[in-house]
């Protein structure tokens, strides 16, 4: 904590390319995410599992921030951690936990799960060995300061130009609308 460090940080901010924090930070977040992810599937108590899932989501939020994607991080918190998980807890709280904790912990299709896990591992190994060759060599500007605006341009386009994903975005929102209506109809007999 001295002037030299400050100026060094200033320079990294200004250059806008270097990672925002040390690899150490990444390993901590990744470790938290993995451990709490394991807890999610091993906890007998559903509320504990849900809380562990929230921790996982928050750790992933931290990873997004490290990737200069504050908008995605914010949305992750507001939608997943703040919204969906609250509803999850809401439902879980009403479930009879005594009974569910006595049930078998893993269901019978564990072979499928094992296969899926192996496939994922293979994918990771493949990506790791191939390295950069897999991804297009197009350097995205790591702009923390204008990340939100960039996303907006992608989704909605700029003045006089339709965005790259405008159509997909609209289709997705239409799909969600249908889902909402479906949920209402499913739960309410008389509307």
């Amino acid at each position: 904590m001295n002037l030299a460090m400050n100026s060094a940080l200033n320079s990294t901010i200004n250059s806008g390319m270097a990672p925002v924090a040390t690899p150490w930070f990444f390993y901590v977040l990744a470790g938290v995410a993995v451990i709490s992810g394991v807890l999610v599937i091993t906890r007998r108590n559903a509320v504990h599992a849900a809380l562990a899932l929230i921790v996982t989501l928050l750790a992933v939020t931290g990873l997004y921030l490290m990737l200069y994607a504050p908008f995605v991080a914010g949305v992750q918190i507001i939608v997943y951690a703040g919204g969906i998980m609250v509803l999850f807890l809401f439902v879980i709280m009403l479930v009879n936990i005594d009974r569910s904790s006595k049930e078998r912990r893993f269901n019978r299709i564990w072979a499928v799960g094992l296969g899926a896990a192996c496939a994922l591992l293979a994918l990771f190994v493949f990506a790791f060995t191939k390295g950069k060759a897999l991804f297009p060599d197009r350097g995205m500007p790591l702009a923390e300061g204008s990340n939100t605006q960039e996303i907006a341009k992608m989704l909605y386009g700029e003045a006089g130009r339709m965005g790259q994903y405008t159509f997909a975005f609209e289709i997705a929102s239409l799909l969600l609308l249908v889902a909402i209506l479906g949920a209402v109809i499913m739960t309410k007999k008389k509307i």
Binding site: M1, N2, L3, M5, N6, L9, N10, T12, I13, N45, V47, H48, L51, I54, P70, F71, A73, G74, V75, I77, I78, A81, G82, G83, M85, V86, L87, L89, F90, M93, L94, E144, G145, S146, N147, T148, Q149, A152, A159
Partner: protein, 432 residues
Amino acid sequence: MPNFIMSYLDSKEALTPGSAGSQFWALIYVLIIFAGVSVAVIAMNWIERKLLAHFQVRLGPMRVGPHGLLQPIADAVKLMIKEDIIPAEADQLVFWFAPMIGLLAAFTVYTVIPFGPSQAVSDMNIGILFMLGVSSLGVLGIVVAGWASNSHYPLIGALRSSAQMVSYEVAMGLAVVSAILMTSLNASGTGTLSMIGIVQAQQQQGVWFIFKFFPLGLIAFAIFAIAMVAETNRAPFDLAEAESELTAGYHTEYSGLRWSLFMLAEYAAMIAVSSIAVTLWLGGWMRPFPNLLHAPAWDFIFSLFPGLTFLALAAIALIGVARMPAHSFFRIQRIGLAVFAALLGFVALLLLVIAVAGRSADMSVAGRFNDGIDHVYWFVLKVAVFMYLFIWYRATWPRYRFDQLMKIGWKVMLPISLGVLIVTAIVGVIFS
């Protein structure tokens, strides 16, 4: 003075410590804000009890210290030395950390609240999104606390409050969006989510967003002002802790320090949401009429306000000293109040000296201090108005029933806020 302190004071550009990358100053800011909010919560405790008492034709706390000024401290000590009971049937671990969740969420949002153009810990690009997101985490603490207590009343309280907070977040979010939409009405056509950017947009457009596209801004503000009362579980939407129905709602089983953490979180959240309202609609740190009355003389007059406010408080305390009964029983109280008045007077004097010394608009240390004090003063004053409103609501209104609350949230506020958003967008396109 060490360099890293001077580096900040001498800096010509007004940047928040977070944006400037100065960890030292960020840490100082965090500590100041943490201490300041804690003190504000304690003060709120006293003010609320006093104000409620006066609304209800009684005196309120009078015994601990002059006019009960030390009552919050006595309360805090009492809560700290009380036994911390964890029910045997409760989920120990979750019960233990549930209050922390709410507290963490309530205090984390302060990192982006702009008390001034550079008086914030950090100026995040997603400021308002971050605030809404983190404050929505607060409900987790309530839900989990109600569940972990393993008791009916807390469970119902938790269910009520989570349903309530999730519902009102929707209307609140839409109202916020319509304010953010207004920030994009500039030459470049790009808006901002940054809290400081939002205030600067109001500065550039020369109008607080509450008056923008009258009455659209006002309606959006009203929606937010109602939703924020519901968000913080305050009367008349305090169903989650409805004392007469659910004993104490989600914190029925809590006691001592752990209970006080809930209270701390609730009041911190009240200040936080009021800050959002002030930032989005009431021009944040800006003093009244910054464009209309922009002569340096006006600047000087408005910069006297903080000192004069403290002077007025000191005068009120002095009147209290004079009005105290002339009985030996009250001697210590009178001395205490006189010391308090002297303290307020000293602060007033200090502020006035700074205002006079920093009246030239250059970037001297005194000038910067003066600007900072001005900004923080106007911001805190606006927030204080909201705090007063919270108490006023509580004294005046009965409590809504749960179904009525939901009806208002989904069938009244949501359509209105949606309509306001659409109309704001249309009007914005037409007039820009």
